[in-house]
């Protein structure tokens, strides 16, 4: 299961149904390989931990979150390391998904029709490839925010680095760190909701596969690429 363009029969998925109903029900399309999924969930876990430990220092109303990390000082100690871990995990993920995330002219049209998007009127939208414009934008927002969090986070990392920067720079870095964190967390909230909203997405990232109907409905251009690729591979040479 390492070839992400293969159309496969998912093992254990509606087996024993051959002959009943449409045999096509057993078809699934591989969307995320085992290492894609591992990489994604490592990033997600790191994000949640970095976000919660950061928020504890963000506002007194949520200082109690520091209890999750063993108290205030532990939160302060752990947060930057968790942040670094997230940056590394996401960097690897970003390399994996890099080529799928360039915005195309059709993406701008998709964005202009955002009302159709949020009202489940997908039939009116331009055909979507592996990722839709929203997903691509999220990708770039994360890239920019994490770069910002990394740079500013180092400046405000008092134990090792802050003494090398002037107080003005530290102040600005603290402000920008909080701002990038805010943008990132808000965007990820939208990302998580989208996964809950569009049924089948969570399965893609937990089990790796989607149904052809799902691919056809949400990512039709990608669906066609997949079946054409499968077709050319299944031809005897």
């Amino acid at each position: 299961m390492t070839d992400s363009t293969r159309i496969t029969d998912a093992p254990g998925h509606s087996t024993g149904e051959a002959g009943q109903g449409s045999p096509r029900r057993r078809d699934t399309i591989l969307r995320y390989t085992t290492s894609d999924r591992t990489n994604h969930w490592l990033t997600a876990i790191a994000f949640v931990c970095a976000g919660l430990s950061g928020l504890a220092m963000f506002h007194p109303a949520v200082f109690w979150l520091s209890g999750l990390f063993g108290g205030g000082p532990w939160t302060r100690i752990l947060h930057p390391y968790i942040g670094l871990f997230m940056v590394v995990a996401f960097a690897l993920l970003a390399v994996r998904f890099w080529s799928h995330n360039f915005l195309q002219p059709a993406d701008w049209k998709w964005l202009r029709q955002i009302r159709d998007v949020v009202n489940n009127r997908e039939d009116r939208l331009p055909e979507v490839g592996r990722y839709n414009a929203g997903q691509k934008l999220l990708y770039w927002v994360i890239v920019v925010c994490l770069a910002g969090l990394l740079l500013t986070g180092i400046v405000i990392w008092r134990a090792y680095f802050s003494d090398y920067f002037s107080i003005r720079v530290v102040r600005l870095a603290a402000l920008l760190h909080a701002f990038c964190a805010f943008v990132l967390i808000t965007s990820i909230i939208v990302h998580i909701y989208s996964a809950i909203w569009v049924k089948g997405s969570v399965h893609a990232m937990t089990r790796g596969t989607v149904t052809p109907g799902w691919a056809w409905k949400h990512h039709r251009a990608w669906f066609r690429e997949m079946i054409h690729a499968a077709n050319s591979r299944s031809r005897p040479d």
Binding site: S22, R25, V170, R171, I189, W214, H218
Partner: protein
């Protein structure tokens, strides 16, 4: 200790008001007055501070000036800063300033601190760090307009002058005041200290220091450590004493209304999602979609590859 909390008027990272049952709380505040025109730079105050607070900084090296140690540190809470300045008449002036926490009425350190109760302000105006609550993030350093707090390399806690809050609480004057041999340091109510300073300034003016004045900067709503300066028009010549100190705009923006707004926006994003689900509902794939996909797959897989 329990009653002491009734004398606290502000705690860091606390959104509700402090206990305020006591009457007249905050009416009378204290101040230390540092008369730079009387200071001879003997550093008796530096020594007294070390002794009273049991602090021993590392023995440093001579940096070619009287200033020693070269800077404030987690174990040096006060420091005589020496400046050699040539005045407009071409004469040399040796300006000596006792540096340390100014005990701002509006403290930037307290504003920036994310740990509840790590920085407090007493009703008498003293700003104190409670190290047991300190998490060691160093935000107080970014918040302070005077570059005072220092994080210890030993325990990663923030330290600075306490204005001997422990001594003042039992009716004693701070250790530095007690040690000063020239009367350059005096301590009392802020009102009294202002009156005392006014006398000194009048005297200085009569001796030709026409710009003599009191340093009690309004940008931080006044301080509980004040200076008498011979040249109050140019505080920066005293080793960079800021002319118009105030909590930096960056810190105001970082720690101001933006934070609760940002929290609200994040909560709103989650709520919007929830109600979108309730009102619009999930985006599901149905049998029709599967059938159309199956159709297309059948066509493609059963036809010779036509793509280039």
């Amino acid at each position: 200790m329990a009653l002491q909390s009734l004398d606290i008027i502000r705690r860091s990272a606390t959104t509700l008001p402090e206990p305020e049952i006591r009457s007249g709380t905050g009416d009378v505040t204290v101040a230390k007055l540092i008369d730079t025109t009387k200071c001879i730079g003997c550093k008796a105050c530096q020594v007294a501070c070390m002794e009273w607070n049991d602090l021993r900084d590392e023995i440093g090296t001579n940096v070619g000036a009287y200033q020693n140690p070269p800077d404030l540190s987690a174990s040096s809470w006060t420091l005589m800063r020496f400046a050699e300045v040539e005045n407009t008449k071409g004469d040399l002036e040796w300006l000596i300033r006792k540096d340390g926490c100014m005990h701002c009425q509006d403290p930037g350190c307290l504003k920036a601190c994310p740990a509840p109760g790590a920085i407090v302000q007493y009703a008498n105006g003293i700003v104190d760090f409670h190290e047991e609550n300190c998490i060691g993030c160093g935000y107080c350093i970014a918040g302070c307009p005077f570059d005072i707090p220092r994080i210890s390399k030993k325990d990663h806690k923030a330290y600075k002058c306490t204005l001997c809050s422990d001594r003042v609480a039992v009716g004693l004057e701070p250790a530095c005041i007690k040690a000063c041999p020239t009367g350059a340091l005096v301590f009392g109510t802020k009102e009294d200290m202002k009156l005392h300073a006014a006398d000194r300034i009048e005297d200085l003016k009569s001796r030709g220091f026409e710009n003599a004045g009191l340093y009690d900067p309004a940008g931080v709503s006044g301080t509980h450590v004040m200076y008498v300066l011979h040249h109050a028009d140019t505080p920066h010549i005293y080793n960079g004493l800021p002319g118009k100190p105030h909590i930096s705009n960056t810190v105001q923006l970082w720690k101001g209304i933006t934070k609760p707004l940002a929290l609200a926006a994040m909560a709103l994003a989650a709520l919007t999602g929830f109600f979108h689900y309730i009102r619009v509902g999930p985006n599901e794939t149905d049998e029709g979609d599967e059938a159309r996909a199956a159709d297309e797959m059948a066509k493609t897989l059963n036809s010779p590859e036509k793509r280039p």
